[in-house]
Structure formats: structure tokens, C-alpha cells
Symmetry: C2
Subunit: 456 residues, 2 copies
Amino acid sequence: MPATRKLDVVVDSVKRLLRVGATANLLNLLQKQHPADLAQLLSALQERERHAAFSILIERNGRLAMEALSELGPETGASLLADRSADEIARFVQELPSDDAAALIDHLPEELSSAVLELMRRKDSETVENLLEYPEQTAGRIMNPKVFALSEELTVGEAITEIQSSRDVEMVFYVYAVDARRHLVGVVSLRRLLLVAPETPLKRIMTTDLISVRVDTDQEEVARQVASYNLLAIPVVDEENKLVGVITVDDVIDVIKDEATEDIYRLAGVSGDERVFTPPFESLRLRFPWLAINLVTAFLAAAVVGLFEGTIAKVTALAVFMPIVAGMGGNAATQTLTVIVRGIALGELTWANARKALLKEVTVGLGNGVTIGVLAAGTAWLVRGDPMIGLLLAAALLINLCVAATAGILVPLGLRALKVDPALGSSVFITTLTDMAGFASFLGLATIFLRYLQRG
Amino acid sequence: MPATRKLDVVVDSVKRLLRVGATANLLNLLQKQHPADLAQLLSALQERERHAAFSILIERNGRLAMEALSELGPETGASLLADRSADEIARFVQELPSDDAAALIDHLPEELSSAVLELMRRKDSETVENLLEYPEQTAGRIMNPKVFALSEELTVGEAITEIQSSRDVEMVFYVYAVDARRHLVGVVSLRRLLLVAPETPLKRIMTTDLISVRVDTDQEEVARQVASYNLLAIPVVDEENKLVGVITVDDVIDVIKDEATEDIYRLAGVSGDERVFTPPFESLRLRFPWLAINLVTAFLAAAVVGLFEGTIAKVTALAVFMPIVAGMGGNAATQTLTVIVRGIALGELTWANARKALLKEVTVGLGNGVTIGVLAAGTAWLVRGDPMIGLLLAAALLINLCVAATAGILVPLGLRALKVDPALGSSVFITTLTDMAGFASFLGLATIFLRYLQRG
């Protein structure tokens, strides 16, 4: 049975049990689920149902409820807890690893989050508060401060005993070795520990040439390193190279997904904070600025058309075809832009090889300009019975597709040189450019060759 | 020193050493690099330099060269090997895990790849050939068939001895237990083995409720499971539940990146096979069909304008503002579409909650329609001194932004119901719709209220 089909069945049962108020049965069903499935299940419910099911679960199995909640992401998680007292939240949150706890508390309403931190202070909330001090999207924010580290002076046998007695340390597969002042000095894989005699000193078998990141490293860079060196976890050190935490590959996967979402969103002018069920007013607030910027640029493009109103008044057919030139330029530019932005994100495109990429894109632009131009010219001629307007259309398309190719590569590279995310501003720049170039080339050529065109 | 800066320095050195022909120094420098860094380095070089550096390295350190090559991805990797003899390739390829070897051979020119397989047949090419028999983008294609499995009848002590004597099994952290006929029956983590007495039977400590995928499972589904259950590896079974391979989290990360790239590309009408340095003619071939489809739809939109040529002839100012209505609709629709497509990809949006999402989007559309409409109307009035054309613009914008919101959600959901990837066709459908609706509403209203407009 495919996974989604199975989920649908469980969702239906949960809805039914909620409706008839069969709490015991419902609890039974919920407790059988894996936290990840439970999270999927909760997000498939209506908001009221979600709150009801979650309340029933958390009263009886706080740990499972909180594990599911942390899979849901901090926004949804915080909204499910927001109507509880600070006391309860402080208690529940302790079931979570401190990085997840920090993210969750950060998304609670202001007063509630400080009350929760106040209550937790007596216990281990110091780690949570410390995590919250690191800037968002850095290694410090996503690391787990409970890192398994051993003195480099131990033997393999002693290390194995330590591992056996350790609790609550999630997913140990690398053992980090530190010196007396907790400086990170080496790493040993769990498998390697099994391969040598118990009396071997850790020092002798550990790898000292190890890869680590600093607390202030950007999470995207952390993800890049974990992915390119095929690591299962990466140690996090402070500015003195002291070991302060660890980031595991499952957190890296979340970062990679979030960054991909951010790139996709930015190309379309959507904020990275938005999700399908962000409240409408919030979405409006997030999307409006982008549309407002686009409105300004649309008026710029309209101003270009305005320059040629006299020509349009004489040959209204021009008004019919001018959106084609602008639109095709926009489409071609978006293709180039997307390949380039993704190439930058994946590290394939640098300044060093930019010239080669430019040459390629202009070649493609010329090629597409000629083929699309000929097709468009033929169609226009057929439709209007005027070969001249077809010729104009072809020439304008050729010009605009070359503009599109050039802008599609230079704009993102330029923004990157200015340290602006190329995904963020490129598409508005580029469509403005192709609109203006499209209108200017088509209507400009029409003005020059006006006497060859059929009036009307 | 940031990673990219360091890379630039090494790239410069490599270029210099190549230029002066200092092969020994170059080899020395290359051999010091991690395979992942080496891959980055090679891709930053010009094509001729890349071939030269790679040739020098592979002659002396075949293993490192091939590791770097497998990081480069099969396309680039195959191109670096394509000028070698089948004999050499067969020898080099044996340095790779069989999933990477299969992908690489699959990207060689037809005759070369069959010659290589022929040569390898005598040895272990059977596994490679078997992998090539699974359809692309399935678990079978990306799994590693060398999976570490033990009989469920062993004790923990015997299992540890087996692990100690195993070679070449990359990254063991889970031990899979099988019965006498190699059916997958359980899993034990390496850490758990350390925690119990050596005489304990595996059977007693293994988890029997384990997550696996079938060889024909789509790689996207594999990635979803590994990510949501936070696994480091997932076992692959055949239709009889016999263990045939394992997929590790590093391969899953590659899948997640590739799928994100595919989604980003498809939204922009670019083929998933394209990269920054795909040869121009190939890019042209890949991008042309999309532009051709867009040309057809652009003519459809132009036809709508054509219906109102008479109106434009009377009020040419309409030609100036009409692209604004169409363009803003396109922008708003792209925002909605992006959130929806990503929501579908991440599993947040289903049919069950689609109505709620539609309601939200239409609310946002109305809100943006009113605000953007008022802004545009004010500007148009200011620019043209004609309040009526501003009113028309506002009304048309309001209509078109609501069309954009509705289409932005219904089109991707509809495509998904038809089992078409919503990222693939949505954007062309939607921009056509918003172009046509934009032109029709603005010019249509203008025709109705023609007598209130200033002629000219």
C-alpha cells in the first residue's frame, strides 16, 4: 500500500474517532504512529481537529506528542502550544533536543516565550538560551550542544565503556576527541573503535585532519560541507577551536530543503517565511512589496510604449504584437536566469568561468532568436497578410532574446558581486529589462520603417 | 580563510603549474586534496586544463582521480573518460562503488559503454549491469548492492567479528539481519551492538518493525522516507522482501538536491538535464520546445488584443497600460503557483485541505487587487490626467489578480490529479490565462465605457 494511501486511511479514522468522541481508541491509534507519520497526519487535519487530537495525545504521551510537534516545524508547533500555560510548555519542551526547543520557543508569542525561558532557567534552559543568542541560519543555531566528546588520553576500551554508559546522546557514530581544555583535536568513527585492540590509545587511531565548522558559519555552508564530504555529522567549534556542538546529517537535510525552498521562492518573489497555510493577511503583507516593485517597473515599461503612441495610433496592429516580443524575452531570460542562479547555488558557476557561460548563453539566445523569430514572422504574415510586420517582429525578437541571454547571466552575477542573493532581485530586474527592450526594439523599428507598414 | 577563497588560490596554482609544465609539483598539490575539493577544483578549470590535470592525476593515483570524478557527477565524469580506451576505463571504473560506476557507464557513448561492460563482465560487472536494468530514478538505480547483512542466527559477539573482518563496505552503522533465504527480518544499530553482552542473540535485540523500500520505489519517495524518519541508510528489498541493497543518506542528499533543481527548472521551463555548461546546441534543443509553446500562447493572447483593435485605434493610451494588467497578473499568479507547487512537493498540500488554500489565495488576490489597483489608478491618473483610465486599470487589475489566485492554485492541483508534475506545465498555462484575462478585462471594460474615455 503506497504511503500516501495509508496516511489517508489513518486520517479518515482519526476524523471519525474525533467526531464520535472515542478518545481511548483515538489515543490508541495515535500512539501506534511513528513521530514523522504523526506529524504528517496532524498537518492533514483541519485546524480544529489538529488541536483536538494533539491535546488528547499530549496529556497522555508528552514525549511522542513533542517529537511529532518538532517534525511539524517551529511555526506550526508553536501555534499548537500557544494556548497552553507557560508552565506546561516549559515542561513539554524539555522532551525536545535543545536545538528544536530553541527554535520552538523562538516562535512563541513574545511574553509567552520569555515566561517559558524564565521557568526553564532553573533547569537546563541555559543551553536553550545560549542557542537563541546565535544569529539565525548559523551553525550555532542549528547545532546540538550535547555533543559526545572524549579525552584524547583514553584508550579504545575506556572509550567503548564511556559510550556504553552514555545516555540521551542522539546518534553517535563519530567520537570526537578533545584535549584537557576541550579543544577539538581528532575524530574516530564508531566502526574504527571495533577494529582495534582495547588497549590502543585513542590518540593513535584518531584522524587529526578533521573537518569542522565555526558557530558563526552560515548554515548553507555547513550543508555544503556535510554534503560534499559525505559526512554523517560535523563538529561545531568556537573561535578558540573548543568543541561546542554537533550538527547531524538529518538537520542538514532540513537546511538543504529550506534553502531550496528559499531559492524557488525568491525567484518568484515570495518570502522564505511563507507556507501554503500562512494566514491570508500575513501572506498579503509578505507578497505586497514584491508586487509594488513590479508595478513600478511595469509603469517604466509602459513609459517606453508611451514614447511610441504616435506610431501605434497610425498602425494599431503594433499593439497586438508588442506583448509577444516582451513576453518571449521574459520567458527566455527566465530560462537563462534559472540555470545561472541554480549553478551559483550549487557552486558550479564562478567568476572564473563566467565568460564561457556568457558566450554559451548568447549563442543560445541567437539560435532561439532566429528560430523563434522566423516562426513568429511566418505566423504574423499569415494572420495579417503583411510580410513587413512579420519581419519587424522577427528582428525585434532576435534583439530581445539576445538582451535576455546577456541580462540573464550578468544580472545574477552582478548581484552576487554586490553580496545580494542572486535569486532575490534578479527576476524583477530582468523582466523589466526584457519588457523595455522588447517594446523599444519592436516599436522603435516600426517607427523607423513606418512608411512600409500597412496603416489601420 | 573562507572555503571559496582557498579554492581560488589552489585553482590559480594549478593553472600556473599546468602552464609551466611542472607535473611533479602539480601531482603533489592534487594528491593533497580531498576528493570533494578536487571535484570543485576540476570544475573551476577550463575544459582543456581540466582534461590535462585529470590525465596527470589518473596515471599516478587512479583511486583518488576516480573518487573526484564520481563527485563531479556522471555527465562530466563520462566526458573526462571518453577519450580513453575501453580497457583503461574498465580498469578505472572498478575503483568506484557500483552505483556510481553504473551511472558513469550509462553516460559514456553507446559503443564505449558496451565495450567497457564486455571487458568488465569477466569480473564483477554483473552488479553494474544489474543496476543498469532498473529504471532511472528508482531505488534500484541508486542503491549500493554491497549491503552488510548478517544471519539473524548469529550472536552479538559473532556479529562484531564479522564487522571487523568486513572490507570495502562503505559506512556501516546499521547491521541488517536476514533469514536463511536472505529475507530482510531486522535491523540493529552499531551502537546497540556495543551496549549488550557478546553472547546475546541478534534476534533478541534487533528491531523487526523496520522501514525499507522496494527496488522499484521512486527515488523521491526514498528521499522522503529517509528524511522524515531521520535515517542514515535505508535497506532495499525485492518483491519477495529479499535484501538486495542499501541507500545511504549521502546519496539521498544528492537526490534531494536534484529533485529541487528539477522543480526550480520546471517552473521556468528548463529541462532537468541542463547545467550551466551544457553545450549551446544541446541547450538550444532543450529550451526551444518551451519557447515554441510559449510563442503559441503569446499569439493566443495577441488574438485577444486583436479583438479590441478598434477600441485601441480610438484610444491609443490603452496600448500603453494594457501590458501592466497582464504583467501584474502574471507576477501574482507566479507567487501563488510557487507556494502551491512547493507545498505539493513537500507534502503540505493535499486535496483534503485544498479548499482552505483556495479560500486563502482568493482573499490574498482580492487584497492585492484592491491595493495594487488603487496605486495603479492613482499613478495613471497623475500621468495621463484622465481619472477614467485609472478606474479602468484598477477594475481590470482587481479582476486579473483574482483570476491569478484562482488559476495559481487550481491549475497545479488539476495537473497533479492528471498525474502530471505540477511544476512542469503550470507556469505556461497560468501566464497565458493571466495575459488573456488581463487584456480581455482591461480592453473589454474600455470598450464598454468607451464614451467616457479621452480619445487620442
